[in-house]
Amino acid sequence: MAFLRQAAWLLWKDLLLELRRRESLIAMFFFGALLLFIFNFALDVERAKATEMAPGLLWLAVVFCGTLGLMQLFQPERENHCLEALLIAPVDRAAIFVAKACFNLLLMALVEIVVFPLYWVLFSVTAWDRLPLVFLYGLLGTVGFSVLGTLFSALTLSARGREILLPLLILPLIIPIVLATIRGMDAILRNAELAESLPWLNMLIAFDVIFLTAGILVFDWVVET
């Protein structure tokens, strides 16, 4: 209970700070929308092709927006040495990790809620009935991305050139998540049999659980280092 209470307080703090700073969410929204507009202008595709390309283009936007969010994730803790304040407090370090990952997940989910339908509108995709399932896959992929991203965001906190280092570290590691999400979304959009998309769903859930467990276990070591 103490763990959950602490994580909830830390999440409340992050949400309040974001509400007041408005640094991450607005930048992520605009970046995501801008990418889709650029894709729309650059790729002159017909409706059927646009549906086919949706998983890849959407995830490109999600990953770029997510990386932007991760750059700012520990910014409040960098100011005034607030991370030190959290580290000396009787707080389970896993609670710090879970709160940060949930916060990043929440920001990315909000961006996806806007960006996914925007793609449908811009590219005149008609399969609106499949959008909720596509969003579900996106969300599961985002869980893995947030968890792994939070870990590496903490790891590179005091590194020189972290803006370059962070994407270089994360992008190769999230390939399994990206792959499973895109394949799953693709199966949904093709209206394929459930049996075709289910293995990707299972794989995504497995990755999320593995990364979350690993993150909780090693975060203590990461912040100590």
């Binding site: 602490q6 703090k13 005034n80 607030c82 304040a85 580290l87």
Partner: protein
């Protein structure tokens, strides 16, 4: 609470910040950590807080090897002016947050703590709008609420006005009286001599003087004169 430091060393690359520190600190003590810039005061403070991992040696807290876990169990506070407060939270929100994280009583008198620090009118203002002295006062209010057993204070005097200094010294005296342990890293030798019961002087990471306060603290002032860099305004 008993804190034992055994042959503690810390190196940053090839530069030694602390070398073979041996100290025993006990409940109720107020220790002045003195020394010129680069002596290792802040590194020792951060090592005691568990924020810096020593290169060699160990720290025992009540006989148990110091780790993040033991530090969190005992309750360690760092009072560093301007640090450890969120600028975009109000004074009251900062106190509420840390009170919750420390598992404090929800009904704790946050308003009283702010009032005692002279910040009653600033409770709902963002900390980012505070001066350094006001942030230091807020830190004092925070630790009054959280009641740590080991309080580490890093150069507090530079930002406080006269009333702020009185507030700080009264709080530190209260911590010692209630059986806590206070370590103050400072350059203000006069204030340290007046407040503390023991002085430790560091130079280039080594302890060069460690003595409890006597009726006359002549040897302390001799040591300060001897180890202070030439021309530095330490009393002789």
């Amino acid at each position: 609470m008993h804190l034992q430091i055994r042959r503690l060393s810390k190196a940053y690359g090839t530069a030694w910040a602390l070398r073979d520190i041996d100290l025993q600190l006990g409940s109720g003590e107020c220790i002045a950590l003195l020394g010129p810039n680069g002596a290792g005061k802040t590194t020792l403070i951060k090592t005691l807080a568990g924020l810096v991992r020593p290169t060699s040696g160990e720290i025992l807290l009540d006989g148990v090897k110091h780790s993040g876990e033991t530090a969190r169990r005992i309750g360690i506070g760092i009072l560093a002016p301007g640090d450890h407060l969120y600028d975009q939270l109000t004074a009251e929100e900062n106190l509420k947050l840390f009170l919750a994280l420390y598992g404090g009583d929800k009904r704790a008198p946050i308003g009283d703590a702010l009032a005692s620090a002279g910040l009653a009118d600033w409770a709902h203002e963002y900390v980012g709008a505070f001066s350094s002295g006001m942030k230091c006062r807020l830190s004092i209010a925070k630790w009054r609420l959280l009641d740590p057993r080991l309080l580490l204070v890093d150069e507090p005097y530079g930002v406080l006005d006269g009333a702020g200094v009185k507030l700080l010294e009264s709080y530190l005296s209260d911590v010692c009286r209630s059986g806590g342990l206070v370590v103050i890293a400072t350059h203000d030798v006069g204030r340290a001599a007046a407040l503390c019961s023991r002085a430790v002087i560091l130079k280039r990471g080594r302890v060069v003087f460690d003595e409890a306060k006597h009726a006359s603290w002549d040897s302390f002032f001799c040591a300060v004169g001897e180890f202070a860099p030439r021309g530095e305004a330490w009393p002789s």
